[in-house]
Amino acid sequence: MRRDPTEHDRAALGSLDTAYVDGVAELSPDERRAIEARLAADPAVRAEHAAVRRLLARMRAVPPEGSEPDWSALERSIREAVGDELPRPWWRRWTWMAPLATAVAAAVVLLVVWGRPAPSPVRRGLPVLERPAPAAELTDDDSIALWLDGAEVDVDPIAAEALVEPADSDDDVTDVGLLPATDLAWVDNLDDEALDRAEHWLAGKKKG
């Protein structure tokens, strides 16, 4: 069954006809053959093509608008305007680098400022002596592990607290722990007898 051509079909066919009249070489061989078959079969199509051809020829005969300039003079003026130097490619021009460098520097500063970890409270004293979590209330029964001389020793946390200087006592020189955590030179001055006593005490703590 043959269907009636739609507006789209007519536009497609018409555009091919007009394009054929104005430049047959720009059509595909199939398009060209289809139009030539219609031209051969239909005198109305031939008349239509002839009318379009005459109109286009008439338009092409219209001279360009205005009075054309002196082409040599225009060529010279263009040459003067562009100059003799070849333009640098954009990546070799320095002008774009200034804002880029500024942006990079700003990004680095922001990273340094915001990326720095929050300062931890100054903890002076024996590094192994971690303070118990503040939520847990210390009692006499609690103990914490202390590593000394490769051996683990349970230490009463309340007693351990007393060994370390309070963290917030920087300015209060009178409020110091029993053992000065900042200056451990006294350890070097202990004699053998004192060391023996300490070891003995530690061994006793291990067993107990």
């Binding site: 555009s15 394009a19 040459r79 305007a81 562009v82």
Partner: protein, 198 residues
């Protein structure tokens, strides 16, 4: 069977379809550092560029200025040209952009177009009256076309561009350019009517 197309006069017209862009070699030479290649491009295209610009800009001297500006921009940008369009359609696109930009900046300075048929009163020669009359009718009829159809028709007829180049400049597909061209011709015939039909 003899092909009818073989006898059609338009088949003798030189084809606009070029297998390769004839300006591409010049563009490549320019990119390689040959400054003189740009002068050849200017020599080849300044006339077409000026005529194209002159259709937008109504004073000859202004058209020359805009053409010069378009070439300056082309000189700066040719190094980045990658050959996705022809050099000619790339140049023409720059020229159209420059012309439109110039029109925006000088909107109030544009002279009102002097109707060519009004000039006929000063020139009674019959042959010239006929030619000018025809020209004036055609220009008026073209001016009445929708912008896209007008652009496509002018690029095709006055600038002698291929449908591929027209499509590049009109920013549409080649088929759409052909359809617009067809409608422009059809409408032009309607506008001109029987009295002014060829």
């Amino acid at each position: 069977m003899v092909s009818l197309a073989a006898g059609l006069p338009l088949l003798e017209r030189p084809t606009r379809v070029t297998p390769a862009d004839p300006d591409l070699e010049l563009a490549e030479r320019f990119r390689a550092g040959d400054r003189a290649a740009f002068d050849l491009i200017v020599r080849r295209h300044q006339k077409g560029m000026w005529r194209l610009v002159r259709r937008y800009v109504k004073r000859d001297a202004d058209a020359a200025d805009v053409t010069q500006l378009a070439f300056v921009r082309a000189f700066r940008g040719l190094g980045a040209f990658r050959g996705t369009a022809t050099v000619r359609s790339w140049l023409y696109r720059i020229a159209i952009n420059c012309a439109l930009s110039w029109l925006r900046d000088h909107r109030r300075e544009q002279p009102t177009e002097l109707a060519e048929d009004a000039l006929l009163a000063d020139n009674p020669a019959p042959a010239q009256i006929s030619a000018s009359d025809d020209r004036a009718w055609l220009r008026k009829a073209i001016a009445q076309l929708p912008p896209k159809q007008k652009l496509v028709l002018e690029l095709r007829v006055f600038d002698d561009l291929s449908f591929k180049e027209v499509a590049e400049l009109a920013e549409c597909s080649e088929n759409t350019a052909k359809v617009n061209f067809h409608y422009a011709v059809k409408r032009l015939r309607d506008i001109l009517g029987a009295d002014h039909a060829p």
